[in-house]
Subunit: 467 residues, 2 copies
Amino acid sequence: MLGIVLDRGSQISLSRQLFIAVQQNILNGTLKANEPLPSTRSLAKDLGVSRNTVSEAYEMLATECYIASNPGSSSRVCSGLNLNRVIQQKKAEASYTENVSKTVLRADFKTGQPDLNFFPRTVWGQCLREALLALPVDKLGYGGAKGFYLLRQEIAHWLLRSRGLEVSYHDIMICSGTTQALNLLTDLLHQPEHEFVLEHPSHQGLHTVLGDKGYPVRPIPVDTQGLDVHLLPQTQISAVYITPSHQFPLGGILPASRRSQLVRLAAEQDFYVIEDDYDSEFRYCGAPISPVYALAPDRVIYVGSFSKTLFPALRIGFVILPKALQQRWCHYRTFMDVQNSISEQAALALFLQKRKMDRHIRQMRNIYAEKRQHLLHAIHKIFGSQTTVLGDASGLHLVLHLPDADFSAPFAQQALVAGIRINPVINYCTSPDGHQDKLLLGYGHLTHKQIEEGVQVLHQFCQRYRF
Amino acid sequence: MLGIVLDRGSQISLSRQLFIAVQQNILNGTLKANEPLPSTRSLAKDLGVSRNTVSEAYEMLATECYIASNPGSSSRVCSGLNLNRVIQQKKAEASYTENVSKTVLRADFKTGQPDLNFFPRTVWGQCLREALLALPVDKLGYGGAKGFYLLRQEIAHWLLRSRGLEVSYHDIMICSGTTQALNLLTDLLHQPEHEFVLEHPSHQGLHTVLGDKGYPVRPIPVDTQGLDVHLLPQTQISAVYITPSHQFPLGGILPASRRSQLVRLAAEQDFYVIEDDYDSEFRYCGAPISPVYALAPDRVIYVGSFSKTLFPALRIGFVILPKALQQRWCHYRTFMDVQNSISEQAALALFLQKRKMDRHIRQMRNIYAEKRQHLLHAIHKIFGSQTTVLGDASGLHLVLHLPDADFSAPFAQQALVAGIRINPVINYCTSPDGHQDKLLLGYGHLTHKQIEEGVQVLHQFCQRYRF
């Protein structure tokens, strides 16, 4: 009947296979409406399977109303089921796959990449297991949008001992990293006819988010000290986004006078400041910069991340949020993705509580400081005195300035073809405005050897352009 | 000077304390612009700390431009820093805290709650640790919006062996649960002047998401067989959302004729169907219902969840997505929260690969089946013959129908005061329309004893209303 072939070696049960075969025959019109099906006894005999198998398949078909069972007579095909379509072809693989063949890179200066080889994975695995087993059983259920309270408490302790920042854990909300925080905050802070003020140049991610949502953006130029607060528009502002500890990408530290003026304006004009503190844990000459948040906890939203200090695929970050915004944050978070997963929140709480975090950051700060020194040395030796390096000595990247160069669009593309991954600062600009002579060099993930060879390769490539 | 008191027992370093104290004095106007600071030597002597401590504090102040250092003369306070505000008071605790005092519940029929006592936590902890240690180091970095490919492959295998569903892992996207999937899909599928069609009654979460975004909604009544497809509007449709395996909340199974008609209309009128398969793994009489997805993989988006089969705080779900939507899905996911965390994706892949999932679901299916029987028995015994139970024998809840009852708003509130948590079906309705005589009873998380006592308490409470 119907060309049904059952595969006894399959993972799918025989009854499920039979169900699918009959279903397909009904949907493609081979079995017509009201047509009687063979009895379970005769079909079982034809197919060489037990009568039970056929009964089970018929039961599934009846449950989903492909057939109507009639006690004492044959089951019949229900009507209105012919889809007039050929049985679905094996699907062609998508062109959008993850296994894109990649050029072999001879130099990879991508930014924001911590050195994952030094991540204490065994310790983290122990924390994961230990924390999971210690959780009260109800913590496996829904736990609320704010996040696991033990983690929030440990983050508060950590901010106090590492930054001198005194904050109640009630004001700390756990989230899935900075991207989620910014996505959520834009919805939270958007007001019709108001603009979001962004640094220029700045990371392009937030531009994309705001563009997708159709929220208006006003880029304001930065100088060597970060956002030029005097240039803030007189128009209505939804929020001002800043990276005051280490401006991304140019590396300036926002000075106290601009900080005070900004929070003063925020209060006067009634807007919020979003402080993205993406890598200030790694500062190589002097203490970490203190957050703007401390100046005005009712006007500044502090966004912290563990992507650089631990690892990007952890997806845990946090915000310190003015009380006036907390209820709406929880609403949006609940309907965005409910909450963070519990196991990793609990593991991170333990990692912080055991001071493993402090130790890891100390170790990585030394490692990154050495890498930075190595990079500076290589730049000086290979590029010579015509180049300068911009930005504060912190984070996982620096800015190379070649006064006569033009790193506009074709440069990075052709560099990639030549095996060099590099980010010109102009990529972070919404308009061509004089940053075309600057390159961003990420070094966190590179070995000393890779740094030296990378600078060599980059220099040769620049020479082809006569920079 | 300046009433600075340093706390030698504090977690905060002495230099950081000094920095904060001077900063506060500058911000509140006690130290005026251009005022000279004491020399490091004299301040160190006054405070009884090392000169190094003071130098460090001054350096931090200079870095952030609170003071200007002058070689050979005193450091001076920079101008424009007086915030004219009192030093921030210790913050009052938010009224919006998590420690709301709760009524002690005598009966808790909340829905969607698996029994977390049976979750194999030790096995899960082992999977977490084992999977983490086996990960290549680059998997700790950014891994792409689609999710960890090993997990996607294991889900594909599992769908094949448990549901007979043949799907390429390239079409499976990992997400942080159904809520995120629906939030993202609404943005993906929304078209101006088009409506989202929802079942009525249905879960209120999606209503809230669509309402927040301002996307128009058209509720269509369900009957005992789920969505009445004949009532679909002739207007333009962004997408149709259905729960075909076990309509939430009423429990109907969408019959084959309606399924075929729906996917036929989807092709004709060019809309997508969102199939939310939230609990069909737990079906107690017969095989799991086969997904609508199998009928039209290019028109149906299948949304699967592990919140009921494993635990809600895991936050892993998945969608099977038509190829035409995959690129935009990845875009939205990247800018929403980048990706899921890697450790739990890897642990779940291992849990599936080792067939621990199959075993856990088999065990829980038996446990829930017994609970359901126990609940049916208790209802029959205590409420007697005037009540009926609606819906297919699956999932973690059932619907109790008392023909003469009116469970509208005051009932559930007063029940809660009396220690009974209960969801009337009318809570899931956007209009009062004849479902006021139905109650939703979730039983997944209850013991047999709690079930029996809960039904008893509920019956007594109903009697006060003369139902």
